[in-house]
Amino acid sequence: MTVGAAVDGVALQLRGIIKRFGAVTALDRAHLTVRGGTVHALVGENGAGKSTLMRIAAGLETVDAGSVELFGRRARGGSVAESAASGLGMVHQHLSLVPALTTTENFALGRHGLYRGDAVGALLARTSADAGLSITPDVPVSELSIVEQQRLEIVKALARGARILVLDEPTAVLAPQEVQDLLSWIRRFAARGGTIVLVTHKLREVIAVADDVTVLRRGAVVLTRAVAGASEEALADAIFGQGAVGPNGTQPSSAAPNGDVVVHVDAMDVSDLRGVTRIRAATLDIRRGEIVGVAAVEGSGHRELMLAVAGLRAPDSGRLVLPRGIAFVPADRARDAMIPEFSLTENFALRGAGSRRGVISWPDMTQRTRAGIARFEVVASSPAAPARSLSGGNQQRLILARELEGDVDLVVADNPTRGLDARGTRFVHEQLRAAAARGAAVVMHSSDLDEVLGLASRVLVVHHGTVREQPVDRDVVGRAMLGVE
């Protein structure tokens, strides 16, 4: 069996794809043409629609309009089995392996009859040899490095007859040398006739390994061209657009640059819950009245930085000095910021619940909730209504009302406008600016770089665990986020 039998012509063709999730248009007449035997890079910011587009190709999502063709055959869509049978194999960002089982067992998952370890092992050895990827047999997957797990996923897909492989952000969690190995492999695979779609936001990889590149921005294709002759700067421009100022033209707020230092960080390391170090030797100061924007792509470690600055994750080493009054607006509000079954008043009471003593005066709390609801214009029937009865936008308003009540020294906000409409977004921005004007330090992150740049007076870029300040300039920040010098 030859891996990735040579294919001429078009391997994958997506035309006029429109995909909506509720009121949000994720893909707006997106298109993609992948020639057989090539490496095609699909790039864009977080939220640009890259993953959604490929999930459609893999049959994990349906389309509202448009067509999918695999190797010349039109797909009905929405069926994983169909696209797999047509020869598309996808290696997801979050791997789907069973950690407790061995490589051989994971490889064999989903078949029937007697499990003959030898036969399966032989097939694994053959497939991996063909593909040029070494896999250690009979080792628990939990003991494998991420690289090896990734290789196993690829070999699994190939064994199922995949002729076109979609790799979704495969290098996000790899070390530089491992990245090199993977890129070399991709080149070799294509040279032997295989087809690869590489979803990434790392421009250096694109230049190094891809034949063609398609750039998505806000769900639409802004650029499709051959990679030969393209420069990183030009690609970065396509990804981020131009200009140094936010979309609504407002200037970043000018802070009181000589305010007291509210957050002091010195050579701080922070690891995630699995013990992996995500932030290395971060050193920074944040002063009153500043709005510090954190610009980073998924997986860079910015989540751990935000949690540490919010006081929810203790650093492994280094020094972290935080003020007392901290307001935190987490990214996943339904899970981390509120209790859907509780009333608005009870959700309001969550803040400070950990250290509160004695009796709760619910009339007072209700009064405070009412005031907060009024101030932040939360649309709700009454403070006694359950929080889940509110729309997403109003839930966020409630959370802001709770967190920004009273004297706050530090506001940490992670994607605070996610799921909000324009009005809600504007409101959140006003509140953040107002908090800064009142003397709080604000640290905010958004997957939307424009939003960050529109608000921030300073920008910190987190890339692969390192935190570095950058000037408030779109091009510079964009490149720093991608690790481009």
Binding site: A81, S96, L97, V98, P99, A100, L101, E105, N106, A108, L109, G110, R111, H112, G113, L114, Y115
Partner: protein, 297 residues
């Protein structure tokens, strides 16, 4: 020594229902479900065997399996189809089984039937071996069935794709689904097998040990079985070993009498339960299937 032989024989006999239930529970837990209703399956099986016993041993065991299966399917309905919490549902089912069997037993107007217990099925030559002969080879047929279940379960778990699928479901159901495995079906099958074995264990209690029924005679064996599975590291052969240990602990009361030790009977009865706590504590759940006890999503 006669005493040692008698104790060993009692230990193996006592271990039989434990082993049956634990073997079934191993499969069930490997699929990610902890069956708190196992105790209910056992008592239900015991009662069914008691009722059907007069019609013959085979009928008794068949009824026992059926009764256990019935409770297991109820658990599957709540846990798989309705996605309710395993623990609460299991607890309720155990309470239901205990209450129902107690009610039905007391309601039987006819005199309490005492069956002759199943006689030993002695293996010709081997049972002559001194000390261990009768203990291992002079047991009722059901004991041999229980022991044979161990390699069968082991083979099934590790040498078939079905077993592999089940193990995958208990560790990472999303990955299993991605590989095309029908997760709800696998979980239901696992629960069914585990509860059927639990019923069978109850049948063994009545038909091969006590000869009669008493309210609450399961005496926590369902939970002991769960501890045995943990102690055996969710591996069939480990479970076999752990069952013998617990069987010995339960049979210890006879050894005490025979040895003439001055240990209070009630304190000796505590031993299996204390052993359970120790086993569950010392043997960390790191080896447990990752999804054990969790309702998905």
């Amino acid at each position: 020594m006669i005493e040692a032989s008698a104790f060993l024989e009692a230990a193996v006999r006592t271990a039989t229902p434990l082993l049956l239930a634990a073997a079934g529970e191993t499969v069930c837990e490997r699929a990610g479900v902890i069956n708190i209703g196992l105790e209910g399956c056992i008592i239900a099986g015991a009662f069914a065997a008691f009722v059907a016993g007069p019609a013959g041993t085979a009928a008794g065991y068949a009824a026992a399996v059926g009764a256990g299966l019935a409770f297991g399917l109820m658990l599957a309905l709540f846990v798989v189809a309705l996605r309710r919490d395993q623990i609460i549902t299991g607890t309720a089912l155990t309470m239901l089984a205990l209450g129902t069997t107690g009610t039905l037993f007391r309601a039987r107007a006819d005199a309490v039937l005492v069956h002759a217990t199943e006689g030993p099925l002695t293996v010709p030559l081997l049972s002559r071996i001194p000390i261990v002969g009768t203990a291992f080879f002079g047991q009722p047929a059901i004991t041999y069935v229980a022991v044979v279940m161990v390699p069968i379960v082991a083979l099934w778990l590790y040498r078939t794709h079905a077993g592999l699928s089940l193990r995958a479901v208990g560790e990472a159901p999303e990955a299993a689904r991605a590989a095309g495995i029908h997760v709800p079906l696998v979980v239901t099958g696992a629960i069914a097998f585990g509860s059927a074995m639990g019923g069978l264990a109850g049948g063994a209690l009545v038909l091969a040990q006590a000869g009669t029924f008493a309210e609450g005679m399961s005496a926590g064996r369902g939970f002991l079985a769960i501890a045995i599975v943990a102690l055996g590291r969710w591996r069939p052969w480990g479970v076999l070993l752990a069952s013998v240990v617990f069987g010995a602990a339960m049979a210890f009361q006879f050894a005490v009498q025979a040895l003439g030790w001055n240990l209070r009977y009630e304190l000796v009865l505590m031993i299996p339960y204390v052993l359970t706590l120790i086993a569950l504590s010392l043997f960390r759940r790191g080896d447990a299937p990752a999804m054990l006890g969790r309702t998905e999503g």
